[in-house]
């Protein structure tokens, strides 16, 4: 049984002009100890997926369809109270803008201890002290700094403290939403290495959400590319990044600047269209109007999943054909 099995998930938000679909028919599986990367641009629905796994959708968000099975039990069927027991102990999250996730008027250590205490009321004081020292050791912050205030930490240290907090109840799955955005490249590199180390040491699984494909490529074995609320390509890192097939993935990769020019082989470097038209989910391919390869059918019929290898597939009627 996979650790996480998301099946046909569709999420919408109520707005003044009626419900708007943010995530449509998303299915994926995650095994224990593996890292999955979700890449896509702002507004493609990647954060919405992360929030739904923790039952933290904003008030106007709702799951329209689908199932989220964690170790076989359906997360969507749980009450808020049951979810609370679940959160942090089984699934935790490293939030976007983690620099602001710490309360400035409480000592950092106390904030982490609070999380441990709430979720493990049976722990003795010594046990809690031991846990927090271990956590600080794990994220490489010296023990003397445990009870400093957030403003005394540098940006990278705050980020590591937030990672320590996410790991404080020894979860099986950690969701990291843009964990390194707003950090310097050198600090970013340290954080990614740390996350990979921790994955090895503790055998946790993770979902890495980012618009920066470089970060995702370093940390994750499996990759999902999202566009306008749908998965458009899915596969192993080597498949999606080395031999992409969906025209959107190709455009996204070629717009990514690297110092060694690995993606310069996509000679024409197509630009990714950033203006969305309002008819978001009209049952046809969402990328057709920006796609250089689109054929008449792409504008009239829904796109189909094409299997390129048993682990690599793309939502495009033109992909995987001989050409």
């Amino acid at each position: 049984m996979p650790l996480l099995d998301v099946d046909n998930l569709t999420i919408a938000y109520h707005t003044r002009s009626g419900p708007v679909t943010a995530v449509e028919n998303v299915s994926f599986r995650l095994e224990r100890g593996k890292f999955l990367g979700i890449v896509g641009e702002s507004g493609c629905g990647k954060t919405t997926i992360g929030m739904s796994l923790l039952g933290l959708l904003p008030e106007n968000g709702f799951v329209r369809e689908g199932r989220i099975l964690f170790e076989g039990s359906d997360l969507l069927a749980l009450s808020q109270k049951e979810l609370q027991a679940f959160r942090w102990k089984k699934i935790s999250m490293i939030f976007q803008a983690a620099m602001n996730a710490l309360n400035p008027v409480h000592r950092v250590g106390d904030q982490i201890i609070e999380a441990i205490r709430i979720h493990n009321p049976e722990f003795s004081e010594e046990r809690i002290q031991k846990e927090i020292k271990e956590l600080y050791d794990l994220v490489d912050i010296p023990e003397q700094r445990i009870f400093d205030y957030p403003h005394q930490y540098s940006g990278g240290m705050k980020q590591r403290a937030v990672i320590a907090m996410a790991l404080s109840c020894r979860p099986d799955l950690v969701i990291a939403d843009e964990p390194t955005t707003a950090l310097d490249v050198i600090v970013q590199d340290q954080i990614i290495r740390k996350i990979k180390d921790i994955q090895r040491q503790r055998g946790i699984a993770g979902i890495f959400i980012s618009h920066d494909i470089g970060v995702v490529a370093e940390a994750c074995q499996d990759i999902m590319v999202m566009y306008r609320g749908k998965i458009v390509e899915q596969g192993k890192r080597e498949e999606v990044f080395v031999a992409p097939v969906h025209p959107y993935t190709i455009a996204l990769l070629s717009s990514h600047l690297t110092i060694d020019g690995v993606f310069d082989f996509h000679a024409d470097k197509p630009e990714v269209a950033c203006d969305f038209s309002p008819d978001f989910f009209a049952g046809v391919c969402g990328y057709a109007e920006s796609c250089s390869r689109a054929e008449a059918q792409c504008f009239t019929a829904p796109p189909k999943w094409r299997e390129i290898t048993p682990t690599h597939k793309a939502l495009c009627r033109l992909c995987g054909q001989n050409d």
């Binding site: 940006g155 600090v187 590199d189 494909i213 990514h256 600047l257 470097k269 990714v272 950033c274």
Partner: protein, 264 residues
Amino acid sequence: MILEIKNVVKQYRSKPFLFGKPDAGVTAVDGVSFSIEKGEVFGLVGGSGSGKTTLGRLTLKLEDFDTGEIRFDGMSVRDLKGPALKAFRRKIQLIPQDPYQSLNPYFSVYDSIAEPLVIHGIGNDEARGDLVKQALEMSGLAPAASYSSRYPHQLSGGQRQRAAIARAMILDPEFVIADEPTSMLDASISFSIFKLLSKIKREKNVAFLFITHDLAAARFFCDRIAVIHKGRIVETGPTKDVIENPKDDYTKTLINAQPRFSYT
């Protein structure tokens, strides 16, 4: 040569608290020298706190430096005042980092972009209208009519940055300082912004000082780069040489920290 920076030093000191002694201060820029030719794109690459943004502010005369010299078009920037300062500010422009904060939320796109023309007393209403339209369309906000009456909250991040670029270009400057112009944007959108800046460089022969922490962006956009660390330039040269053949240890660290796509 359009810009020449020689041995510039800038220190920040905190005020003493009550009876305490003033502290030693922080030397943000510590003896920096470089020069930029007309029409050249020069990249200043460094991590947070390296002093790269301070150097940009000193060049724009938004702040004064302690010692050294900055010459723009042969004139000493330190001594500029009155009409000469106003003429200087017409030739040098800034594309700021954060398009969410750099546009006045109470100004329409048109008003924001036309404001420099008003300040410098250029043209009448009709001529200004034409110039704004040209600037918008050159920046990729076409048709201009559908953008000029919008307010910043009605634009996406990429569109805001395009509006900020249109405003920087409306006075036809000779020199533009772009301070991390895409760090708030998605990778795919930042790529289109770099394409736009490259086009402006080509068509208008503008020189750029491009401030960034991203070597990959510098590789795409810059003719020459300087790597700055703790207020000092540690290495400088043609972009390709520095990236492929780094000499300095800090440059090597910076290059090694870039995400790679080799799956070993």
